[in-house]
Assembly symmetry: C2
């Protein structure tokens, strides 16, 4: 975490406090597998969503730092809870460079650990958020679940349209980015014009973020702690790079793609490497990257409409940085 | 539902409205497996928890019927969500006489369906409940998760103490009964003395309810739509009848009980029948029933301290009825 935000000392200091709130919230001796959950939570990502919430709160005049940090912690706990349940769903052995909760503790404990994290998230938000934002968090989980189920139902079909893909990633990723920026601003009582700009900026940053995430499944980068390359391909997910590659040469791609029969079986890395190589040759990842660039441009344009401030510049830099990330 | 409450027409009418709120809350065209979830929810139980919440609300002067029915719906959705996740956890093929969601849709969809139900529950409670009660619901999920995990970690060990068993069922069952009565009363601004009595009454009713539930695992009753007899035994759960039977003849019982190696494997109905027969001979279910009776007496005593009203009498009858139920 600290490394990622090393050029933003003020934000880094606040994110440290968010982590402390998360730790305090999870410090419940009565929860039997608390330590495993804390380990999973602490092998933490970049705290992007709490960072967005804090940045959003700078655009209002009435931000109470303690409430904002609690709500930021709630947003990250919600994210981690969805990751824990995702890992069960995707049968993922590794998350953030460590064995997933589901691999280390079993399915039952992972289901309950995710539920517990949701409950901690709602406890924090019901303690600290405006009712509107508490409702927003509840609605958001529904959106994420819908998107995840849609995606799951379409696995191994390779018939997802670009439009449908965008709708799915809007629900599973962009909605939370959007909520984080917007909720921070509404808690701080920013004017509606600004909260709406932030909502749209968050949406576009989130869309670009997920497209890049999906492109990274096609690119091997040595030594970086991220999800294994080819995992989406092995799972039969039809992400944007694949959609474009299928458009360019459907028979060629279909000859290589894992079929529904492989669901549950292990798809070999030779298969995923071959899919990845042909898709790349057909320009799939490149076309997807152009879309990500477009989302980022829209985000940057929205950010340009915000009143000038160091946080506005921070948000602009973050949008660009997430576009160019390699993990 | 209607059958169970046929002697309480006023309550039955309100529970019908609770069901309508639940239906409206779940009527989200964007959720892909909505219909399966609604079917699962509608193969519904007795709506005990919403009934308790409505009864609780009668002890205050400020009950807004619409808010109360929304909160009652939230409580039932929370219960159903935990059932959906429980079924994954227990690998249960049947729930309320129908295939469980997890058996009909798969683990992934059942995890997400449960999450979706939680999100609907929190949406309702953040719309309709006092912040204190919204927080209570969030805390409750944590308590249920803790209890479920404790129980799971102790499976096949047959070393659970009576004290520990009571703590587990307090978290997994009695806490929600207690919350329902208490939340109804606090929403209606009942005096603290009354809300506290209701909290204790709910706790004791819930404890008796779960003890009876665990006894029913040892008793076969023909033609009743309930969970299969011997399921807890097959899963290596150490419930109260077993604890007492082990106390009476540990070597005899241990010779019959399924061992940890059977986890995941199918335990035959011959094994569970033999365990059940010996435990019954040793008086396990009978001793457990005496405890259930004790909890019910305590509940009835608390109920006796409430101001007289038709709802008070209804609650007393319900406590007795749950003690003597056969399903």
């Amino acid at each position: 975490m600290t490394d990622y935000w090393k050029d933003s000392p003020t934000l880094a200091a606040r994110l440290k406090r968010v982590l402390a709130v998360m730790d305090a919230t999870l410090d419940s001796p009565s929860f039997p597998i608390r330590d495993s959950v804390i380990t999973a939570v602490e092998s933490k990502g970049k705290l992007l969503r709490p960072a967005l919430l804090i940045i959003g709160s700078s655009f209002g005049h009435a931000a109470d730092p303690i409430r904002i940090e609690k709500l930021a912690a709630a947003v990250e706990l919600l994210h981690v809870a969805t990751l824990v349940h995702d890992d069960i769903i995707d049968e993922a052995p590794i998350r953030r460079g460590r064995p997933s909760l589901h691999a280390s503790l079993g399915v039952k404990e992972a289901v309950l650990a995710g539920d517990w994290l949701f409950s901690r998230c709602f406890l924090l938000s019901s303690e600290s958020a405006e009712p509107e934002n508490a409702r927003g968090l509840a609605r958001l989980i529904a959106a994420v679940c819908s998107a995840e189920i849609s995606q799951d139902l379409e696995k191994f079909q390779y018939s997802t349209s670009v439009r449908r893909y965008f709708r799915t990633i809007a629900g599973k990723t962009a909605a939370l980015f959007s909520l984080a920026l917007h909720a921070g601003a509404t808690e701080a009582k920013a004017p509606v014009r600004i909260t709406q700009s932030l909502r749209r900026a968050g949406y576009n940053i989130g869309m670009a973020f997920q497209v890049i995430d999906d492109i990274l499944d096609f690119e091997s980068v040595d030594g970086l702690p991220r999800k294994p390359v080819g995992r989406d391909i092995a799972e039969g997910l039809c992400t944007l790079p694949l959609i474009y590659a299928l458009r360019a040469d459907r028979p060629g791609m279909e000859a290589l793609l894992p079929r529904a029969g492989h669901r549950g079986e292990v798809v070999s890395s030779e298969v995923t490497a071959a899919v990845s190589a042909l898709a790349t040759k057909l320009g799939g990842p490149e076309l997807a990257r152009a879309d990500a660039r477009r989302f980022t441009s829209r985000a940057v344009a929205e950010i340009g409409r915000l009143p000038p401030s160091p946080e506005r510049d921070e948000l602009g830099r973050l949008a660009e940085r997430l576009l160019h990330r390699a993990y």
